[in-house]
Symmetry: C2
Subunit: 214 residues, 2 copies
DNA sequence: GCCCATATAGGACTAAAGTCCCATAGACAC
DNA sequence: GTGTCTATGGGACTTTAGTCCTATATGGGC
């Protein structure tokens, strides 16, 4: 991928530019267009927050200092709303503590204006790749969680014991029920989670954040 | 943990101060002592690199600008040498790109001088906690890897199939050997890895970074 | 009062996994 | 060339898991 003019493959990602300076929005828009990226521009953080949540792959190019909510405030809002999309900060009047705070909170980059075009392109590549990975993982995790929610409380309990590697006999003893009953719940767990092996169950549990009991 | 004078529990961590300014070393040393931390000071990055690798829990408080190797250079060296210990940068003449670069490479914090004492203490807490967690995980991963290295190539191969959840019969077909032979290798895998269930094997594989085949 | 979901469990069976015994054959070391 | 490690497998067996059938009890919802 040596051609900087088309470094983005697959479905075209969308970049959200949030900056109060119209000339910045315009020039960024032009650059992003030329890179084959879809662009949406917003003059303030509040304006961006009014937009419905974007479900596709993308990232945000965000000015730090703006009237109303600052870029950092927007970062906090998105984080609180669990609406995560990688952020690239651009700033005319930033300082070190600001940039460090932004990076600690997960920003992909923090570019002081004026910045080199190539720096932004590199950051965009990284941000979009990060979002692609994160979205794929979240989608899978949600998928698994949805299936797990179909389990009855008892089935869920058995599920958590099964992923420890315990035998049916041991689980039955622990819960003071017949091994037969464990087998039945276990079979339902496999069916509802569409699993064919304990190994698959363990992987699902990891991805969905299910912890073994005790 | 509201007492800032002793926020560090368990085995006393060691903090390595690397700064060419003797007065900084002295005052940091005093502060760290008062926090119950063991301190070692170094006047240059090279001097620190000469020290044998420290195996315990701790972190580095590192000046950015120094004669010889800079703080950033030291960060790179440690990363290359796989000698990872959380780094807190302190800097008198830093700038944004510098701080961002440091944070991208995993620094815990980047404090411009002069900094508030409390800021450093917070960063130290975070760094030491991070190191504690990382060390514990690495220790466990190495432990598992050591056991995995005891496997013969064929046993390792079977191991990777087993963690996919495949049946012995299926593995036997794939490798064009008798199911009986698979059972034997499988039994040795369980024995050598001290595992009692496929679930445990799957967890070990995750921690040791073993990927299923194909 | 009846239907449905949930949790419980027995009986009879198949399939898979694990555990002993045994054996052969190649590779490599000393 | 004798010994050890590795990979291969057969036979006979036990244990565990999974799959049908059946059934009972309980608690809600309409």
């Amino acid at each position: 991928m040596t051609d900087n003019r088309s470094p983005f493959t697959g479905v075209r990602p969308t970049v959200f530019v949030v900056d109060d300076d119209a000339s910045v929005r315009k020039s960024l828009s032009r650059l992003l267009d030329s890179l084959g990226l879809i662009t949406e521009t917003y003059a303030s953080a509040d304006e961006f927050l009014k937009r419905e949540h974007y479900g596709g792959v993308g990232c945000i190019v965000l000015d730090v200092r703006m009237p109303g909510l600052s870029g950092m405030d927007l970062q906090d809002e998105l984080s609180k709303a669990d609406y995560s999309m990688p952020i690239i900060f651009i700033s005319g009047h930033g300082n070190i503590p600001m940039s460090v705070r932004a990076m600690k909170k997960g920003a992909v980059d923090f570019l002081p204006k004026p910045f080199d075009e190539q720096e932004l392109i590199d950051a965009l590549k990284k941000a979009i790749e990060k979002d692609r990975t994160a979205k794929a993982e979240r989608t899978e995790a949600r998928d698994i969680q949805t299936r797990i929610e179909q389990l009855t409380p008892r089935e869920y309990e058995i599920f958590r014991y099964v992923i420890t590697g315990m035998l049916n006999k041991q689980i039955a003893f622990k819960l003071d029920i017949a091994e037969k009953t464990v087998k039945i719940h276990r079979a339902r767990v496999f069916e509802k989670l569409c699993a064919n092996s304990v190994a698959e169950l363990v992987r699902m549990a990891e991805k969905a954040g299910v912890e073994p009991p005790d």
